[in-house]
Point group: C2
């Protein structure tokens, strides 16, 4: 009996040995595998900090950030509009819906769903130099992905062109005007845009007070006999969302900030001389300040390599940091890059790294998951918006026309970033004021050189903002249907 | 006998179980503790990627980066000048020493030594908005640390002033000229600088072709009866490293890019109207493109809040992204920020986060470890440099004058970022060419509006670059002492 007992105990002990061995060398599941496979050293502290901050609860109505204000040793919640409290749980009653800015927070959920693939770790010594190994200013890897992006989205031609990055839409617009403007001080180039348009076209052109160009107003009022024209062509329009073509036949600056499948059907790739895009509207990373210009130089027409022209184009490229330009002419490209190098102007390498990571995720599976997510967000918001406005006779929004989209391979309606609201009643000639009285903050028509009978409402902000906008619009239309004037 | 065997086997098995248990629950040392203590989730993949790339050996003569070109699934080494091969181990014989650019790699070792504290993890959804919670464009935390930085370094007054960030020295210089220039198109402001000076002062002023200002040349040739002057005061000078004061008595733009304890003794805090600093020279993060302007507006002298003046100052602030300005006037500050917000111009939030992290480390222990490291680097290089030039009659370098440094609390010699070499022989009137023949690449005096008898050599590049420069200089001086002409 004792012998049997020894035997059983021994077998049990050996069995436990085997189990321990399996546990030790195979692990006990995915979680264990992740944490113990790790042999992180210098990056672990920063990673833990970032995760701790991301885990701070702000009730879904705010966010804590690594560089936020500190209280009790940790960053505090930064609450979205209308919410307050340490955990952003307090909704301010009667708070106005803010649909003013084009802050593209509508894509935040996508990036949270793709957290592991879009996190970036930057070492203290990451790219301290002004230069990359094979390029003075721009990440060749990012260049490659930007070309892929255009090929995937099918919205711009990049083949046989050079790409230059840049920053800041306001500077870029001015720089583009500079690059295309006359060299003749006694006869400056005439800058035009079609109403309604983004106010910076006018403000920035005037700001320079240059001898080389002058702002002339709306394209409709322009005499066609003067051909020294630089025309801003916004396509899709902001606001409105319509695809547009040049009307003057002059040199053009195509502002394609919203020419992405989530906002408009893509009928085909754009192939204009100078096209401005904005990455902030594409991926929603407005805070990263990375947009781009597709700058296609026609070999011999307006782009003569005189010294002045050279300098003006240099100016374009030094100003368009964080944007990119696609240039056909290799000589121009080399000289522009050389100047940028000498000027110590440049593009933050940290930002280029982050954009690379974000674009890689956006382009997974040929961009289908990303653009479908983005399109569904916009499309759902438009469905709800049109449902509310269909009940109103006091307010109308822009009509939308279905088109075949080469990206989604089907006919779809546009879902623009902004609603362009018209107040229909005779007396409502200040539409933004009417909306404001209904606790809705929009931008006046005159901001876009249009009539104040119009107002722009942003549809790309956070879900909280959109829900409140829907609530306030519903209240406003409901008042109208009960024949109660609010103003 | 069999019974004893059972017993011994059982005891051995139990002993093994105990060892397994100890191993499993106690771990096998500090390394195990680090890896299994971690409960990282979404950040771990990015952290592991960053560490794997940092661990790629490039023989100390190059660096692999996350966004580098990919070969066999991992980024390749980017070799420093004169080195090549997959691991950068091959030194090109007879390679010229490149002392041309101001690429401040000399501080890379400091950041590698402080890897854990300076790593940054950026989530995919980090600050997607254009705005911070309490500020449209700028991180309040970074604002706080910038003020501390000036207080610690003792090199600029920030009290009772507002701070605005900006980017890009070239744009900034132009923008500063714009902000200070005349509003009278028929009588533009006169822009001046003292030779030798950074060529962008001239190039960028001319580039704008504005009706409001015109570049007039050297301060020495200027008639003092015209008071509508905007003077660039570079202090310390680039090249040269001397502390300077205004000579015209007009409005001034103080370029303080090198006004840090590692380059010059700090006699006291600077308190001028408009001061330009550059963070790239302070911490060596040139690739991050974060510099700053200390912009102190005098209440009523040149800063009248007419609409044109307002616009010009707006222009300053939209252009100086990634730099910061310290402004006394609250009204101006508010309007400038409001415009920046409306213009959607801004500063990359990723970059602001990284700069915050870097500054926090630089300012540990009141900046002592950081500035001492940086000063020792520069000081050692100057000791070796002067030792070589002391043996030469053909070449001389600028004299240096000791001053009391308020930061180090002792009298020290300046250790400027650049050597300003003079070729003493009558026939050596192109000094850069003489150096080039000796396999040393510098910048000609004429690049700084000085004579070509001078050339600038950069002393802030990597240790590899500096060692090669020392070698080539030693060879050149040695040839001279053996009475062998090289040109």
């Amino acid at each position: 009996m004792k012998k049997y007992c020894y035997g059983i105990c021994f077998l049990i002990s050996v069995a436990i040995n085997i189990l321990f061995s399996i546990h030790l060398y195979v692990g006990d599941g995915p979680n264990q595998e992740i944490s113990c496979r790790s042999s992180l050293t210098w990056s672990e502290k920063a990673a833990a900090e970032a995760e701790a901050v991301a885990a701070i609860s702000c009730s879904g109505h705010g966010r804590a950030f690594l560089d936020g204000s500190i209280s009790d040793g940790q960053p505090v919640c930064e609450c979205y509009g209308c919410y307050s409290g340490t955990d952003c749980s307090e909704l301010s009653p009667g708070c106005a819906a803010d649909a003013n800015s084009g802050d593209p927070i509508y894509l935040e959920p996508f990036w949270m769903q793709n957290a592991a693939d879009t996190a970036v770790v930057i070492s203290g010594w990451h790219r301290m130099s002004y230069e990359y190994a094979d390029d003075p200013m721009m990440s060749p890897e990012l260049d490659k992905y930007i070309r892929k992006l255009h090929s995937v989205a099918g919205n711009a031609i990049t083949q046989d062109r050079y790409i230059v990055f840049g920053v800041g839409s306001s500077q870029l617009l001015s720089a583009a005007v500079y690059a295309l403007s006359s060299q003749n001080s006694s006869s400056p180039s005439n800058v035009l845009a079609s109403t309604p348009f983004y106010h910076l076209y006018k403000d920035q052109t005037r700001l320079f007070n240059s001898k080389n160009f002058v702002y002339r107003g709306d394209t409709n009022s322009w005499q066609t006999n003067n051909t020294d024209v630089i025309e801003f062509v916004t396509s899709p329009t902001n606001p409105g969302g319509e695809l547009k073509k040049s009307v003057t036949g002059g040199k053009t600056i195509h502002d394609h900030a919203y020419f992405w499948p989530q906002f408009t059907p893509i009928p085909g790739p754009s192939d204009h001389d100078l096209m401005i895009f904005s990455l902030s509207k594409l991926t929603g990373h407005a805070g990263t300040r990375f947009g781009y210009v597709v700058y296609a130089v026609l070999a011999s027409s307006f782009f003569q390599l005189s010294s002045v022209r050279y300098i003006l184009n240099i100016f374009l490229c030094t100003l368009i940091i964080y944007r990119w330009a696609i240039i056909k002419d290799k000589d121009v490209y080399d000289k522009v890059l050389n100047y940028i190098y000498l000027a110590n102007a440049g593009i933050s390498k940290d930002t280029q790294l982050r954009v690379l990571k974000v674009l890689k995720v956006a382009m997974k599976a040929d961009g289908k998951p990303f653009f479908e997510f983005a399109y569904n967000q916009m499309s759902d918001r438009w469905n709800r918006l049109t449902s509310v406005f269909s009940k109103s006779t006091r307010f109308s929004i822009q009509p939308r026309h279905p088109l075949h989209c080469n990206f989604f391979h089907q006919t779809r309606q546009p879902s623009p970033a902004y609603a362009w609201v018209r107040c229909e009643r005779q007396e409502d000639n200040d539409c933004a004021a009417v909306l404001k009285a209904g606790k809705i903050i929009g931008q006046s028509g005159s901001t876009f050189s249009a009539k104040d009978r119009y107002a722009r409402l942003s549809l790309i902000k956070s879900q909280d903002d959109f829900e409140l906008l829907m609530q306030r619009l519903t209240e406003l239309v409901s008042l109208e249907n009960h024949n109660i004037e609010i103003m």
